[in-house]
Amino acid sequence: MSLHITLATAGRILRQLRHDRRTVALLLVVPALLLALLYFMYDGSGATFDRVALIMLGIFPFVIMFLVTSIAMLRERTTGTLERLLTTPLGKLDLLFGYGLAFGLAAALQGALATGAAYWLLGLQTTGSAGLVVLIAVVNAVLGVALGLFCSAFARTEFQAVQFLPVVVVPQILLCGLFVPREQMVGWLEGISNALPLTYAVEALAQVGISADPTSTMWRDLVVVAGAAVIALVLAAATLRRRTP
């Protein structure tokens, strides 16, 4: 691995993003608009809005970065740039961490905007600080990037890549405790829920909702999510082969 090459790769990915103004606009504006939708849905019910919006601030970056990354990586494979990159001094982890870094930065910007809109425009209230919400959102985005990089190895076409969203992302959203409290689920469902990284991100956000200072549960959850992201990146590296049939 080389820091220089990793940074050059992250810079290249951000430059690609910058040329695609529509994607940038969608990335930055859509989460805030969806939160506004929630605000009007839960009109007059401040407590429910606070609970759901807080969790959504973690789920949006996860879903969006998963999608963006799996398509971006698939493009590297189908246009031949990946094959070419693998004949250069670039290491596999340079490429994967480059993606993590670039989309992590994009997620930081996205998270700051969405969180700012939620607190200032939509009156979101949490006991803990908004800065922690952004931090959790960014770690979640990196998890989305890592899973997207991993899953793109199993897709040959963009149609297939998009299908991984319902397979990999939706179950995590269903089982994370947003719809049904996890302790009310049957044992085996709760067991599955315990094994899914998004569960921990949602729990960390809930901790920010109820506690003024960061709790040890929140830090533990954040470490679990970050650890899951690193494992997914390493698995993604294992699926990147320099030699192909």
């Binding site: 220089h4 090459i5 050059a8 790769t9 810079g11 290249r12 430059r15 690609q16 040329h19 695609d20 246009t79 031949g80 740039t81 094959e83 070419r84 990159l85 693998l86 004949t87 250069t88 001094p89 670039l90 320099r242 030699r243 192909t244 049939p245």
Partner: protein, 240 residues
């Protein structure tokens, strides 16, 4: 003379099909070697084996004295795939600078490579907005950066206008004169005459490995396309 590439008994299978049936050949250093053959003959597979991205069934490929694909070779190799493998959503210059950065080189080298392929005027355009010929030259520029010892170019002149094609071939020979080894594939026989040496491939087998002059002499015609046809007929007669 030293060989930059030595291929021995190379067998490649893709799925259940054997794509290369035990090819052996040498690519001399400091020359332009043309890899000629119809589409589907195994040219790209042989090229992929040389750059070290092809899983091979058996046989060896040595590049600059090392097994193809080994890590130190990645600094010595410039590779242009058949489809222009550059980022369509970056400008020519941004592409070149990225590929320069991968080799630890700066903007000067990137800009020089862009000028070398005649894209200086278009350097701020997005690759996606360029014509097909310009796009493949942008891809070529990224391979030229940092003076690789071995340049492997898969059909680099497709879609170029005749004047540019002549310029590119002149550039290839300049590079060879400077010590670079070039392996250039083409399915257009009129480009065969521009090579120092030819490898003729058909259906995964090498049917000619010689200088253009020697191939002309052996087949008794000046037209290389006709020479290729006569070689095939001779082989078919032997087989029959």
């Amino acid at each position: 003379m030293d060989n930059a590439v030595e291929v021995r008994d190379l067998v490649v299978e893709r799925g259940k099909r054997t794509v290369l049936h035990g090819i052996s050949c040498d690519i001399p250093a400091g020359q332009v070697t043309g890899l000629l053959g119809p589409s589907g003959s195994g040219k790209t597979t042989l090229i992929r084996a040389v750059v070290g991205v092809q899983i091979v069934r058996s046989g060896t490929v040595m590049v600059l004295g090392r097994p193809a694909g080994s890590a130190p070779l990645r600094r010595e190799l410039g590779y242009v795939t058949q489809a222009p493998s550059v980022y369509a959503d970056l400008s020519v210059r941004e592409n070149a600078r990225y590929f320069a950065a991968l080799r630890g080189l700066g903007a000067t080298e990137a800009d020089r490579a862009i000028t070398d392929v005649g894209l200086a005027q278009a350097c701020n355009q997005l690759v996606g907005n360029l014509s097909g010929g310009q796009r493949s030259r942008a891809s070529l520029a990224c391979a030229l950066i940092g003076h690789p010892k071995l340049l492997v170019l898969d059909e680099p002149t497709v879609g170029q206008d005749p004047v540019l094609r002549a310029d590119l071939w002149a550039r290839f020979h300049e590079l060879a004169a400077g010590g670079t080894t070039l392996l250039v594939s083409s399915h257009v026989m009129d480009e065969a005459g521009r090579c120092d040496r030819l490898l003729l491939v058909r259906e995964g087998r090498l049917i000619g490995d010689d200088t253009p002059a020697a191939i002309r002499a052996r087949s008794g015609t000046d037209d290389l396309e006709e020479a290729f046809l006569r070689l095939i007929r001779q082989l078919d007669e032997v087989a029959a």
